[in-house]
Amino acid sequence: MSNALIEIQKLDKKYLLSDGFLSSQKRIIHAVNHIDLQILRGETLGIVGESGCGKSTLARLITRLEKPSSGNINFKGGNIFDYNKESLKAYRRNVQMIFQDSFSSLNPRKSALSMIKEPLTIHQQGNTKERQDKALSVMMKVGLKKEQANRYPHEFSGGQRQRIGIARALVLNPELMIADEPVSSLDVSIQAQILNLLRDLKNDFNLTYLFISHDLNVIRYISDRIAVMYLGKIVELALNDDIYRKPLHPYTRMLLSAVPSCDPGKRQRKISIRGEAGMENDRGCSFQNRCAYKLEICETLDPELKEVNERSFCACHRAGLI
């Protein structure tokens, strides 16, 4: 498909974990487990899942901050893990990231403007004057004022700091923006401001977003397509409305029913919530212990992500039947 900006193929990432320093036993954590996924040009792809499901590892793999155990990520015809230094730099210019904690991702000893300028310097874009102008214009684009250019991170509020983080990512005119929980540490009224901003920027700069969040309400608002992850796997991938109207995977249903509704009239939860996301099983579906629809086959055979309805993919033996 030519419409894909990034194509992820059979991506695997395993971490080796030792069981205490006296133990010789090693455990393997399969953080990203055989993921196939395309990020289409111009879309907002939401990735949702609980902590430990591998969504941040996936983001780190796409930005090449981690190397995979196996698998490819193709960008403009080449596998990013085969890139040489130069093409990697070009790739990083095109793929930028916004982080959750805006305070720890900013240098406390640098002013806002110098931090927004920094990527331009690193990638040697324009001369000093041009960099200054570009940084200032991006700074205003994200809703900061010119007077705030020389202030330091601690002088900004959480929402404003997140705006600096966004400006830093935006200043290189990337094609893909990876936002890893960008609004999770913000208050709800500030969260709404940032979501509106991200929406505007997408149109103004022709961006593609990979938006990672554990918050199903935020994901629902911002995404065009949604991938639900559970223990390193994508268990469901579908258009936004399809996920929320007719979720296919039992885990997606459980997640959706767990979200507290803001309507006090809707208190009755339809689906009971069992267990916690623990270690994966050796065999079979990783969700089997918590699943209300488990069959014998689920214990032995791991379901693959397959197309159930048009543009809806689900990794469940009983998808479409339950």
């Binding site: 009224s189 709404a192 509106n196 929406r199 309400n217 997640l255």
Partner: protein
């Protein structure tokens, strides 16, 4: 203070209906201040509220609004640079602020318990969880160690921990976040408190685990006829778990009523703005294509509050009165209290 009169008049009204029952907890005009480099900060500024046995009150507000200081004031656990300078906290008729430190210590953990956001920092990493729960029981109930240990295993079972006998011998780091919060709840429930203060109890947890913990708290509440104060920034949690809600802004309660009234018919512009910024409500009301409504600006610092209503510079309805004088919490509709000049004006016309 007018709000005190209000609470009194409510109390008189209930005398007429039934036999007079004082509320389990009644806070009158509480003020907690902090010394800081920028002068004295009023973290809790004249808060009055009450809660009856078996009731769940949600206190909601954004970071820095003073909601955590309110809960710490109730426990009399305000940090050393802070001080409660005014008000009463009547718990079953006794003023907690007049109690000696010893009396207060006996009350904490047995009659009023608290659970916190991050259970890992509230549990001692070098003791087994069973021992930690047993310690609470021994301190308050004077039971022999063996019996206390048996009770703590029962408590672990009650909060839904599988294989409690074995789990009691685990250390906090052996447990998942949700399990640790269950242990904290077991510890808080160990002396059958009349009031449970839950300060962001599910904020650090995943949504499925959050749902389980909320269910657990609600079950325990019903079983023990316990009152619960939920302190949270999450309006969804309030809508699901609470019966009454108090919205805090910059150290003050700006609106309080039943959950149904506040979510269906929010009167204070801040509450309206808060509810409008929730993505789920936006999607339901106007679809996904529309922008989220936002509250302009950000929460004011408590050290540089000007005159008038604390919300006036972010409020689209503000008029002269709002800039000059601070509104008081008044009953605009039955059991619906709002501190806003616009609402009081609408009521008087």
């Amino acid at each position: 203070m007018p709000c005190v009169y209000l609470w009194n008049s409510c109390a008189i009204a209930s005398v007429k209906k039934t036999e007079y029952m004082p509320p389990l907890l009644q806070i009158k005009d509480l003020m907690t201040v902090f010394d800081s480099a920028h002068g004295t900060i009023k973290a809790v500024d004249g808060v009055s509220l009450k809660i009856d046995s078996g009731e769940t009150l949600g206190v909601v507000g954004e970071s820095g609004c003073g909601k955590t200081m309110l809960s710490l004031s109730i426990m009399r656990l305000v940090p050393p640079n802070g001080k409660i300078i005014n008000g009463e906290i009547l718990f079953s008729g006794r003023d907690l602020l007049k109690m000696s430190e010893e009396e207060m210590r006996a009350c904490r953990g047995s009659e009023i318990s608290m659970i916190f956001q991050e259970p890992m920092t509230s549990l001692n990493p070098v003791f087994r969880i069973g021992e930690q729960i047993a310690e609470t029981i021994r301190l308050h109930q004077n039971l022999p160690a063996k019996q206390a240990m048996e009770l703590s295993v029962d408590l672990l079972r009650e909060v839904g921990i599988a294989d409690p006998q074995k789990r009691a011998r685990d250390y906090p780091h052996n447990l998942s976040g949700g399990m640790r919060q269950r242990v904290m709840i077991a510890m808080a429930m160990s002396c059958h408190p009349k009031l449970l203060l839950a300060d962001e109890p599910t904020t650090a947890l995943d949504v499925t685990i959050q749902a389980q913990i909320l269910d657990l708290i609600s079950d325990l509440k019903q079983k023990n006829n316990m009152a619960v104060i939920f302190i949270t920034h999450d309006l969804g949690v309030i809508a699901q778990a609470a019966e009454k809600v108090a919205v805090m802004y910059a150290g003050k309660i700006v609106e309080s009523s039943t959950v149904g009234a506040v979510f269906k018919n929010p009167l204070h512009p801040y509450t309206q703005g808060l509810l409008d910024s929730i993505p789920a409500r936006c999607i339901e009301a106007r679809g996904r294509e529309d922008y989220l409504r936002t509250i302009p600006g950000s929460v004011p610092g408590l050290s540089d509050l000007g005159t008038g209503c604390r919300f006036h510079d972010r409020c689209s309805f503000a008029f002269t009165e709002c800039v000059q004088r601070e509104p008081e919490l008044v009953e605009v509709e039955k059991d619906h209290f709002v501190s806003c000049w616009k609402c009081s004006a609408a009521k008087n016309h």
